[in-house]
Point group: C2
Chain length 176, copies 2
């Protein structure tokens, strides 16, 4: 068993804010330091644990609980875990915080208009076509974090600088 738990770094923010991108860069930076790291992709976890889960608030509740539990299990053995998942309600993230001793909440801030412009998964376009009606920040209120460990603004700061902000916080907290 490792002497200390890994950090669980949860990137929260709207679709298109840049969560997955920054999470991927942080993952790479940790790996380059020779640290054990796992990227728990929210979509992959869905696919493997429950492909038919859906996107109701209840289903989201369940999926964030799973992500938190997976994070807990891995971090227990010294693995650092990055998770990019909206986790739209504060209580979803607070539960994860309670479950994981070295929890780091990263609020990936970005104006909705810019998220819609980027629209990497075509989510906002699908909504505009009336195909879906459960988009965070529009149909489902997104609860901004109150006291996140890190706030990064991807509308004003480049990717590398955002990732380095997270790394700096991990160092400051002595999690890495």
């Amino acid at each position: 068993m490792s002497e200390k738990p890994g950090a669980v770094i949860w990137f929260t923010g709207l679709a298109g804010s840049g969560k997955s991108t920054i999470a991927g860069v942080v993952e790479m930076m940790l790996r380059e330091r020779g640290l054990p790291v796992e990227n728990l992709d929210a979509d992959e976890v869905r696919q493997n644990l429950s492909p038919n889960l859906g996107f109701s608030l209840e289903a989201r509740d369940e999926n964030t609980k799973r992500l938190a539990w997976m994070g807990k299990m891995l971090s227990k053995h010294g693995v650092n875990v990055v998770i990019a998942a909206v986790a739209t309600l504060r209580k979803f993230r607070d539960r994860a915080r309670e479950m994981c001793p070295h929890f780091v909440e990263v609020y990936v801030k970005c104006p909705l208009e810019l998220c819609q412009e980027r629209d990497p998964k075509g989510l906002y376009a699908r909504r505009a076509r009336g195909e879906i009606n459960d988009v965070d920040g529009i149909d489902i209120p997104y609860e901004e974090p109150l006291n996140p460990e890190v706030v990064i603004d991807t509308s004003t700061t480049d990717i590398e600088a955002c990732a380095l902000q997270v790394i700096a916080k991990l160092e400051e907290l002595k999690y890495i």
Copy 2:
């Protein structure tokens, strides 16, 4: 990242065969050697990942897939994983084998009559009272492993000797 993956040791067998007991002792033996180990309790995984899953064959399929995926994620980082779960169909266990590089299938053999006598969870008693009708080995055919790495017989061999058989196999395979 650890240099080699952890072993995923899957204990399969009927309810009451002694899977969880032997798994717990193997876990303890690995821990005593200073090796990282996680015991993925099938009931705890259910509770955390999907309390409403149920016990249909489809639900069992899903739960064993989850256990295998959790095993894969942890073993990837050098954690040895013990799993006690019936996994009643061969294809459930074969899928786990495909997912986990250092997979060890342990068939915990025990005559149904003795399992019924032990009945640690009161499962057979509940069936006798007509409360459930989905017990492995009675209502659902249990598919015996064809080529398990280890076969232990808990009707003739004591607990410690059974666990040591598993440890010996792990050493033989150079997984520990």
